[in-house]
Each structure stands twice: as C-alpha cells, then as structure tokens.
C-alpha cells in the first residue's frame, strides 16, 4: 500500500478517476446493467422462441453473409489502398488519403440515400448493371455495396501504420538473393501486415453487422430476402415489443463481443510490431 502510494507523485488521481468513473457509470454502465436486469426477467424459452423464428434466422443469415462478403472485399481493397498510399508517389495522393476517411465523416443516412440513388435501375451505376441483368439496389448486392463503403477506412487505417514501419531493406535483401516480387510479397510483406489486415477486417465486420443507417435505404427490406437484423430489432421496438427486441439484440451483442475479443488478440500483436520488440 505504501509503495503504491509513493508511486503517485502526480496529483489528481482521486479527482480524475472519480470524474471518469461517474461519467462512465451514467453513460455506459447503468444502461448496460438495465439491459442485464431486463434480460434476467425474461424467460429462456421465450428468448429461444424469438430468436429461432424463421424471419429472424433469415435476417441473421442476410446480415452475416453481407457483412462477411463486404469485409473480405474490404480486407483486400484496404491492403491495396494502404500499400498505394504508403509506397507510391502519384498526383492526388493526399486527396485520396484524406478521402479514405469520408465514410467516418459522412452521416450514414446520407451515404444510404446517395448509394441508393446511384444504384437503382435508373441510377448512374444501376442503369449500366441493369443492362447486363444485375440489380444492385434492393438486393443483397446493394446491402454489400453500402457495407463496403462503411467498412473501408477500418482496414486502410489498420494496415497503413504497419506498412510505414516496415523496413524495406528486407525486401531489397530478398530481391538481391533472387526472390521474385510474388515471393517477396508472400514471404516478407504478407506475414507482417496480416495481423493488421485481420484487425481491420474484424473492426469492419463488427461495424457492418450492426450497421443500420446506410443499409435501410438500399436494402428494400423484404422479409427473408433483404431484411437485416438491426432492422428487425427496430421494427420490434416500433411495436413496443421490447422483449423480442432484447432477445435478438442479445444474439448480436454476443457476436460483437466475440469479434471484439478476437480483434484485441490480433491488436496485441500489432502493437508489438509498431512499438518494436523490446516493449
């Protein structure tokens, strides 16, 4: 105890921890506890009945598959974008770098209606795809497009700092020793950026599963076909069926926490790379 006290030379411990915990309690803890209390009053049978309704199960499938597809595409595109931004010089590079963050800055509802207008069969992009028989808006493809938009900055911003730290002398050495570019990428670059890409993928996946604003407009919201889980929760809430909404929300929460846990594992390895091995 005494030792711990002697460590605290810097003043303000009590005050800052007090303020932190008070605000944390009001904003996060109490609402979470009320969710737990509400769940504890629910009947397990009812919960299982709610989450196994065919329409709810179909929404899990739609949400998961579109989020997974979008995040996989983002993992690949994110690595390419990060690579281009770190390794190459070209006109417009700083603008591209700034634009990557657009999905963070643009309200999701605006992104949603804009992507919808672009991809309906009379839209600029949609009309082109309509000619070859592909419909984007109001299908699962549309949902995936919206989620790609939402998720892209997560991967780019996770991979970029790792690539910046990566010493190119290893690549040069491998090149001298006769390795071709494919081999250099596979054996030297990929193992270094893989955990970061995985982190970005996980963050994007977590965000995409719960995404609502950009998806509701482009999805068409057809039950069993293009109805995402957050929308089902929203409809239950509008009918004041809080028990069903909570039951479905619990499944989503468990899933998000599992992703968060996996991401934290990957991130632990990332920070070792960024801060160097000694730390």
């Amino acid at each position: 105890m005494k030792k711990a006290k002697s460590k605290r030379v810097i003043p303000g411990f009590g005050l800052s921890l007090g303020v932190t915990l008070s605000i944390l309690s009001i904003v996060v803890l109490i609402p979470l506890v009320s969710l737990v209390i509400y769940t504890a009053q629910m009947d397990l049978g009812d919960i299982i009945e709610t989450i196994t309704r065919p329409r709810v199960l179909a929404s899990f499938k739609v949400s998961f598959l579109t989020a997974l597809t979008a995040s996989l595409i983002n993992a690949v595109m994110g690595v390419i974008l990060a690579w281009v931004l770190v390794r190459y010089q070209f006109p417009g590079k700083r603008i591209l770098d700034g634009m990557i963050e657009l999905p963070f800055a643009l309200p999701t509802a605006v992104a949603g209606i804009s992507l919808t207008a672009l991809t309906t069969d009379t839209g600029l992009i949609g009309s082109v795809f309509d000619k070859i028989g592909i419909k984007i808006a109001y299908t699962k493809i549309g949902i995936t497009v919206a989620l790609i938009f939402i998720g892209i900055p997560f991967v780019v911003r996770a991979v970029q700092p790792i690539l910046e730290k990566l010493d190119s002398s290893y690549e040069e050495a491998a090149g001298m020793l006769g390795a071709n570019r494919k081999k250099i990428f596979r054996k030297i670059i990929l193992p270094e950026i893989f955990p970061a890409a995985l982190t970005g993928f996980g963050l994007a996946l977590g965000r995409c599963i719960g995404e609502y604003g950009s998806v509701v407009f482009i999805a068409g919201n057809m039950p069993y076909e293009t109805e995402i889980t957050p929308l089902i929760i929203m409809s239950e809430l509008q009918e004041y069926d809080y028990a069903s909404a909570t039951a479905i929300a619990l499944v989503m929460l468990i899933f998000s926490f599992a992703i968060l846990f996996a991401v934290n594992l990957a991130q632990a390895r990332n920070s070792r790379i960024i801060n160097g091995g000694s730390k």
């Binding site: 711990a4 605290r8 030379v9 810097i10 003043p11 303000g12 411990f13 800052s16 921890l17 932190t20 915990l21 605000i23 944390l24 904003v27 996060v28 803890l29 609402p31 009320s34 969710l35 595109m77 390419i80 974008l81 690579w83 281009v84 190459y88 770098d97 700034g98 634009m99 990557i100 963050e101 657009l102 963070f104 800055a105 643009l106 309200p107 999701t108 509802a109 605006v110 992104a111 804009s114 992507l115 207008a117 600029l124 992009i125 938009f149 090149g175 570019r181 599963i209 719960g210 609502y212 604003g213 957050p230 929203m234 809430l237 809080y242 909570t246 929300a249 989503m252 998000s256 926490f257």
Partner: protein, 271 residues
C-alpha cells in the same frame, strides 16, 4: 531494382485504388449535390430554409455540442487517470470505455429505452419529476453521447502512454499543482491528438442515425435531427428536399475532412 514489371504493377494498383475511390467515395458525394440541385437553385433554397430543416439543424448542433463537451471532459480525465496512474481494474475500465463503439447503434438506442422507458423501474420517478427522456431531446443527446463516447479518450491515451510519466513527476516534485502540470507539461503533447478526437467526435455526433432514430419521437420541428429529417423526406419520395438537406451534411463532412487533414499534417510536423 525497378524494372518494367514493377512499374506495371505500380500503375495497376494505383489505377484500382483510384477507381475504387471514385466509385465508392467520390460518386456518392457528387450524387448528393447533383440530386439536390436537380430542380434548380430556387427549389434547393426552399428545401434548405424550410422551417423543419432549420429546427433539425439546431437540434443536430445542440446534440453535437453537448456530446463533444461531455466526451471532452470525460476524455481528458479518463486519459489522465489511465496513463498517469496504476490502479486495479484499469484494463476492465478501458474495455468498458470501448463498448459503445462495438455495439450496433440500434442496440445503443434499445438499452437507453430499457433504462428510461416505460417498463423501466425508474420510470415512475422520472414521471413524478416530470422528466421526459425517451422520445424527447434528452434521449437524443444521451444516444449521441453514447455512440461517440470513446472518440476523444481513444486518441489521447496512446499519445500519453508513449510519453510516459517522467515529465509530470518531475513537475510534481518541483511543487507544481495538478492543473499547472496539465496545462504546461501534458497538454502541449496532446494538443493535436485532442483536436483530432474532437473532430472525429463531432463528425459522428452530427451524423448519428440508428441510435437517435430509436430514441427520437420523430416529431417534426421537435425531435428531428438532420439525418432523421433526411430519412422522413426520402421515405415520402421527396427526393430533391432529401438530397438538399443531405448536402448540408455533406458540406459539414467535407469541412471535417479538411480540418482532419490539416490537424494530422500539423500534428506530424510538431512531433
């Protein structure tokens, strides 16, 4: 080292990146502007100066300012206690701080509905005190604070962590007060990260849709924020006004991106 092959790969990758950015980032922005101006300036001006739009702008500004204020206070104190002191449960606390960004906005709305809504145990007391939280402005503000909760602390903690505690300890041993240490020693280090956090927080706060949508009563002129107003207009097939209102948010987003770039650039220069 550079041969023809690597040049082709280089321009191929740059081409893919620019095409992606054009299709997914630039085109949606242009669409908002062109759709907003489809019926000319007069229609645009009418939509933007509509009384419901104006009241939505004010509510959005109000929620954003309060969210930034609360999260600034929280962010500074949380970052200070997490990085300058050792205590039990620190890891648990930082995990709790991150929870709001990992849950779906709809679930964020749901938990506030359960906390303050009709079936909550504290609802009778709130009613007795005549306090309305859900389906009213306080609910919107709370939801906005929640979804942006870790945005500022998350920017500050890594910077303070890498800076260590030596300087603060030295200042404290020389007799400086907490406030002086913070102002003179700590703050100069975190200036840019702090600004960056505020920008991120403001961006997310003004655009929040899902959580606010759950807690708003959707009363035009009363509990309608800009993004909710966009939704109502769009669902009424009033596309030009919907995009005109969106264009306000697009302009705010572009300003935020520019500030962000400047802050990041200056921050890198200051290091």
């Amino acid at each position: 080292m550079k041969n023809e092959g690597s040049k082709i790969v280089k321009w191929l990758l740059i081409g893919i990146s620019l095409l992606f950015a054009f299709l997914f980032l630039l085109l949606p922005l242009f669409t908002v502007i062109s759709e907003a101006l489809r019926n000319g300036w007069a229609a645009y001006k009418e939509a933007v100066t509509d009384e419901y739009t104006i009241s939505a702008i004010w509510l959005t500004v109000e929620a954003t300012v309060i969210a930034v204020l609360i999260n600034t206070i929280f962010g500074l104190f949380a970052a200070w206690s997490v990085t300058k002191f050792y205590f039990r449960g620190k890891k648990l606390m930082t995990t709790m701080i991150d929870i709001p960004v990992t849950v779906s906005p709809i679930i964020a709305g749901l938990i506030f509905l359960l906390t303050f809504g009709r079936q909550s145990p504290i609802y009778p007391y709130l009613q007795a005190a005549n306090i309305q939280i859900v389906f009213a402005v306080p609910g919107i503000v709370l939801a906005t604070v929640f979804v942006t909760f870790p945005f500022i602390s998350r920017e500050l903690i890594p910077v303070l962590e890498s800076q260590g505690t030596d300087e603060e300890e030295a200042a404290a041993l020389m007799g400086a007060s907490g406030l002086t240490i913070f102002r003179r020693v700590t703050f100069p280090h975190i200036k840019w990260a702090f600004l960056y956090g505020i920008v991120l927080c403001a961006a997310r706060a003004m655009g929040e849709f899902g959580a606010v949508s759950v807690l708003s009563g959707h009363l035009r002129g009363k509990t309608n924020t800009l993004p909710l107003h966009v939704e109502i207009l769009f669902n009424e097939f009033r596309y030009v006004p919907a995009f005109a209102v969106s264009s306000i948010l697009v302009m705010m987003a572009v300003v935020i991106l520019i500030i962000r770039s400047v802050v990041e650039y200056r921050g890198k220069g200051a290091e």
